[in-house]
Amino acid sequence: MTTGATTTAPPALRLLRFDAVQRGAHWLSAALFATLVATAIPLYFGSLFGFVLPRHTVQMVHLYAGLALAVPVLVAALGPWGARLRRDVRRVNYWSRDERRWLATWGRAPLRAGKFNPGQKLNAVGLAAISIVLLVSGCMLQWFRFFAVTTRTGATFVHDLFAFVVVVVIVGHVALALAHPTAMRSMLRGWVPESWAAVHAPAWLDEERNADPGARRAQRGA
């Protein structure tokens, strides 16, 4: 490999951060998000400013991409192959006292970070919840006949508002990923060097070192 000095590490000093199932779910979801944003822009702004577009086609692409958004993460998490993803969902859910204090003080309290820091946890939880709100409100717009007119207006309002929020969150997510290339590469090749974990996720490194050495060797190969 011809990657930079900070990103090469002998296999023994690598730590598996995301397995192939997690990476696949991430990039499929990312591709669907990109499709949703690309079709949402002309649908939303085109209709405000009067651009001409084959509205029905764009709308159908948006609809099916939106419905498909739930699939990669659910398939990845629900199968026997989803053990690591499920464990990471638990990590994102449970917060230690230090992590809660870190959040309450806007990151000023000292924290010995685990596999995910509180910001990353908020990002994951937030994106999951916002996606569900968008999916439900979007379905209400598509199958509007089943709802009262005021409810349709509310669903339109929520869908537009949450779409703005999700774009802001994703732009932040991508910006942080670009600012932390080693972390970002772990979503491409799976592993991080232990030296990276020692700085950014020391509690996780301890956890992995205390784990059964045989189990660690097995994780590396994925």
Binding site: L48, V52, W95, L103, A129, V133, F144, V149, R152, V158
Partner: protein
């Protein structure tokens, strides 16, 4: 606030913050769907139409076109052809329409899919007056409308067409109706959803049976009253 401890790890003070954040966001979304209607009216009053039109909930129009193009019809060459079961078939110019008694009304424009724009002022000839000018024959039951876009069609029963709040409109928000909004002349059916207000109105045929229009053939109700009812007539004072 209820605190959920991880059963096997309660000692380390681990709390399911993720679940709490997750459920809170879902609750905000659900509440928004329920009260978004009222939030939107409040926002569009506070922000006005300029800035408000760009923000979600600001109350801007969303412009749809069936054909993917807007027919450009110069005001000078505009014609409204009226034919069918009438005494005096006619072809009205824009000047002809503007010379007739004008009706002005300010109402909320409501799309069947949920978005709405409050306080839109329309001006035009009442369709009832136009029908009196051409003289409707016995046996007439309904009207079929055609558009310069060559694709959109609409229908109204004769009784619906004679309501006081149905216009052949040439002004919107105090200015000539723009091309995007269906100008120079469009139908404005105030008591019904936006799809009934056919844009780029080119022709009216008086016929002996309701002919469902473009959107109705695509599943929308033929009688698209703004209160969601679908009967031939509607006496709801809310939309009257």
């Amino acid at each position: 606030m209820p605190v959920t401890h991880k059963a096997d790890d309660a000692g380390s003070g681990e709390v399911a913050v993720g679940r709490r954040v997750f459920l809170s966001i879902l609750a905000v979304g659900a509440a928004g769907i329920v009260v978004g209607d009222r939030v939107q009216s409040f926002l569009s009053q506070r922000l006005g139409k300029g800035l408000g039109g760009l923000l979600p909930g600001g109350g801007g129009f969303r412009i749809y076109s069936i054909t993917g193009a807007y027919p450009e019809v110069p005001a000078a060459s505009y014609r409204l052809e009226v034919s069918g079961l009438i005494e005096r078939p006619a072809s009205f110019t824009l000047d002809d329409l503007m010379a007739m008694p004008a009706t002005t009304m300010t109402k909320t424009f409501q799309c069947v899919t949920g978005w709405e724009v409050p306080d839109v002022t329309w001006r035009g000839v009442s369709l009832a007056h136009l029908l009196d000018v051409v003289g409707v024959k016995d046996g007439a039951v309904a009207l079929s409308f055609g558009s310069y876009d060559g694709a959109d069609t609409e229908s109204l029963t004769l009784d619906q067409a004679r309501r006081h709040d149905v216009l052949v409109a040439y002004e919107m928000l105090g200015a000539p109706v723009t091309t995007e909004h269906g100008g120079p002349v469009r139908l404005y059916v105030a008591p019904m959803f936006g799809y009934k207000s056919l844009k780029w109105l080119s022709a009216i045929r008086v016929v002996d049976a309701v002919e469902p229009g473009y959107w109705e053939q695509n599943g929308y109700p033929v009688n698209g009253w703004r209160d969601g009812s679908t009967g031939d007539t509607n006496s709801n004072p809310e939309i009257a």
